[in-house]
Each structure stands twice: as C-alpha cells, then as structure tokens.
C-alpha cells in the first residue's frame, strides 16, 4: 500500500526545482564578466499543469513533472554599455528567495513524514 500521494511527489519535485534554479542563478552570478552572456532563470507557472490533475500516481517508474517550470531568458537589462546583462544584486535577491522556498518545502515534507510516523506508531 502506498503512503505517499500526489502532494508528497509535488513537494519532492519542488526541492528538485529549487536545486536546479540555484544552479542557474549561481551560473548568472559567475558570469557577470562574460561578454555576451544572457542571464537565465526558472519561472514557476501559476497554473497547475495538466499532469497534476491525476488522482493517483502510477505504480512505479518516472512520474511526469507536476510543477510547470520553464527556463526563461531573463536579462537584467544593460548594466554597462558592452557588458553582460547580469545584475548581481538582483540575482542575489533571487538566490535568497529560492533558498527560502526550498527551506519551506523541506519543512512541509518533514511535517508530512512526521505525521505519517505518528500515525504508524499510534503516538504523537
């Protein structure tokens, strides 16, 4: 019997997305001096993707991505005439927000696991 439903899977994908987004943003910060570099980001969609309307998960194997996140070009606008389009401060803001998101998602995961454990043990 499966203990873990759709929401748990979504939370798991959320942590994955947070990690990939951090990677992308770190790349932006690393390339403040690279001529012609264009900053990129992962955009989270507000709409739920179709896959999320699935009521139950397939038995095993790959689960379709449930969080709609698209890689987008997100240049910060020219910071210098011939320089790359990366605003370090704005990127740092995004990194901080992303870290907060990941922290919250991990907390939500922990809370679910804690509750499941309490149910199994009959205590707490």
């Amino acid at each position: 019997m499966s203990l873990f439903g759709i929401t748990t899977e979504m939370l798991r994908q959320g942590t994955q997305l947070a990690a990939r987004r951090h990677e992308l943003l770190s790349e932006n910060v690393a390339n403040t001096e690279t001529p012609g570099y264009r900053a990129r980001d992962l955009a989270f969609s507000q709409e739920l993707s179709l896959a999320q309307q699935v009521r139950s998960l397939p038995a095993g194997g790959e689960v379709a991505p449930m969080l709609d996140a698209r890689l987008v070009d997100q240049p910060d606008g020219p910071t210098s005439p011939d320089g790359p389009a990366v605003d370090v401060d704005r990127q740092m803001g995004r990194i901080a927000k992303n870290a907060l998101y990941q922290h919250a998602v991990v907390q939500l995961l922990n809370a679910r696991f804690r509750q499941l454990r309490a149910a199994i043990n009959g205590q707490g």
Partner: protein
Amino acid sequence: MPQEDALSISASALAVQRTRINVIAENIANAQTSRTAAGGPYRRRVVNVGAETSFATIVGAQMEPRGVKVSSIAEVGGTRRSYLPGHPDADADGYLDLPDINPVSEMTDLMAATRAYEASVTAIQAAKAMANRALEIGR
C-alpha cells in the same frame, strides 16, 4: 547532484574574480611604472573571462550550467607621453612614456570584482544551507 554542480560553478567564479582582483591590483600598483623588467612602460592588463566548457553538461535538458574560467590575461593598455625632465627614464627632450592607467577606473573595476566575489561566496553558503536542509528530511 545539482548542489554539487552549483558549488563548482561558484568556485570557478571565485577563482576568476580572484584573478581579476590580482590583475587590477597590479595595474594600480604599476600606474607609474615607466620601465618594466622587459623594458618599456607597464601596460594595463585585463582579464578575459569565458564560459567553462565542461563535462557538467546535462544531457537531454536545456540547461548546461558550466562555470567560468579565465581565457586570457591580455595587455591592452596604451601609453601616454608625459613631460618629466628630471625623471631618470626621460628621453633627451624630457618626455617619458607612462602607462595609460586611470586609477579611478581601476578602483571601480576592483569594487565590481570584489562584489562579484562576495556574491559567489554567498551563493556557496546558500547552496550549503540547502544541501544540509535536504539531508535532514525525515530526521
């Protein structure tokens, strides 16, 4: 794991910014150098940064985070003629070639490089914090 790749990217950025800081410091220190060991006045150097071509390319996905590296350190600066008759290196007419280095502009570059360095340090700290939290899921 993605956190590891992010750490490599940030680490490569640190190395590049450190090199930039060193080169800028050299430019500032040598702003008045009329005679280098190789002869002739010092010339302003810049660090050319390029993307690291790497094994970290993720197959099948659109993202290829790579990191950065120094592609070259080039002498790009010119010289300016100054009239300094008392100077030991001055020619018969009292003129001297000095490096065309603007200390103010070098300082601005230095500040930018320092900020970029600090930003990568912060990115590394964020990556570590995220990895540690992920390790504690279910603990």
